[in-house]
Amino acid sequence: MAHIWPIGGGKGGSGKSFITSSLGRLSAGLGRRTLVIDLDLGAANLHTLVGVPYPSKSFSDFLQKKVGRLDDTVVETPFENLFLISGAQDPFDIANLPYEQKIKTLRAIMKLHYDCILLDLGAGTSFNTLDFFLLSQNGIFITTPEPTSIENVYRLIRSVYFRRIRYCFSVSQFKALEEEAIEQFGEGAFNKPECMMKVIERDHPESYRELQNDFNAFRFRLVINQLHKRDNAVLGLHICRIIEKHMGLGIEFTGNVSYDDHVHDAICQQVSFLDRYPYTKTAGELRAVGRQIFQPAGRQLMLQYV
């Protein structure tokens, strides 16, 4: 079974696609058959970053049943072992993916036969983004050292948490839990999954145990992208500490990726940054992040929501 790494970040422009394409390049360079899937529905650009400006096939071909299997939409890239499912030329309403098509997509991804699959997710906290993120326990959060981005990544983490809780309950049960949490912990509790977990522990102990087991099994990671010299190098560590202490969710700080003007140059030239500027600090940091992520991951549990 493939190891799947969903990559999300909450805020647009944080570098999710750049990190995804770079990690894909690094994984492929290790000899692993690597597939990058552009699930930034309606804002796909991963194809540009992996050297396939005009893909002959795309994800929408699968949704529109022009092909029978998701595998049939895979295109090769100029890089050995690196493959792409593109979101280019998707229809304009692709961002509003209906529930049935999302489930169809999730099931199809789980059947793909690659050593490594990276999902480039869109910004924001739509249910589609959250469900793609929860496809695996190995989600990667990308943020930049700016208050706007950090706020959005906190919101994404909370949303992921809530979405997982939501899977255990019906709409009416979940609503009742929200109201109970607000009644017990105040108005701010609607935004705090840890408050809802306390209510669940009291009222639904079996579901609480199931959720705790899942949360303990998550291997989420955080990458700080576009770190300037003047930024705090331990920002990522502190963010992980806050999440662990106040939300009870384990998240590992994987590393910093420094800001580099050459990234912009490489994107404009539509070449691989790692290939064009391999000796820059940023390239070294990307390789270090890749090593952290692609260390033997052991058995990967897939979340069976579908």
């Binding site: 706020e151 840890e194 500490r241 806050i242 202490k245 009870g248």
Partner: protein, 121 residues
């Protein structure tokens, strides 16, 4: 069940070991202030103002308790009674007294056990 921040003991709040030295306590306090103080980038949007003030007052209380030996000892004893801390803690090695250090026999023919050099004439 996971403890809330207010339920953590002072060592857990500051992320230090129970045998942390004074400088480690100060460093941990500084690190906590960096995280929780108003305007901190790390905790931007994470807490309401009221929550932030409550956390800062807990951090302050933790620091003031642990940085003073007597208060710290009383606090440690309370933790031991609650079972949150082991009663047995490593003590620093006993300070050697000068007599013990400089106890070198200078008498003719009498050498302390293990002496490498002959006693001076």
């Amino acid at each position: 069940m996971r403890k809330s921040f207010a339920e953590l003991n002072y060592y857990e709040m500051l992320d230090i070991r129970p045998d942390a030295a004074a400088f480690e306590i100060r460093q941990a306090y500084d690190a906590a202030l960096q995280i929780y103080q108003p305007g901190s980038l790390v905790s931007h949007s994470f807490f309401t103002d009221a929550e932030r003030q409550e956390i800062l007052s807990l951090v302050e209380k933790a620091y003031r308790t642990l940085i003073q030996d007597q208060l710290r000892k009383a606090y440690d004893d309370a933790l031991v009674r609650r079972g949150e801390l082991d009663a047995v803690r490593e003590t620093a090695p006993a300070v050697k007294k000068p007599v013990g250090i400089f106890s070198i026999s200078r008498g003719r023919g009498r050498q302390p056990a293990g002496a490498a050099f002959p006693s001076p004439e």
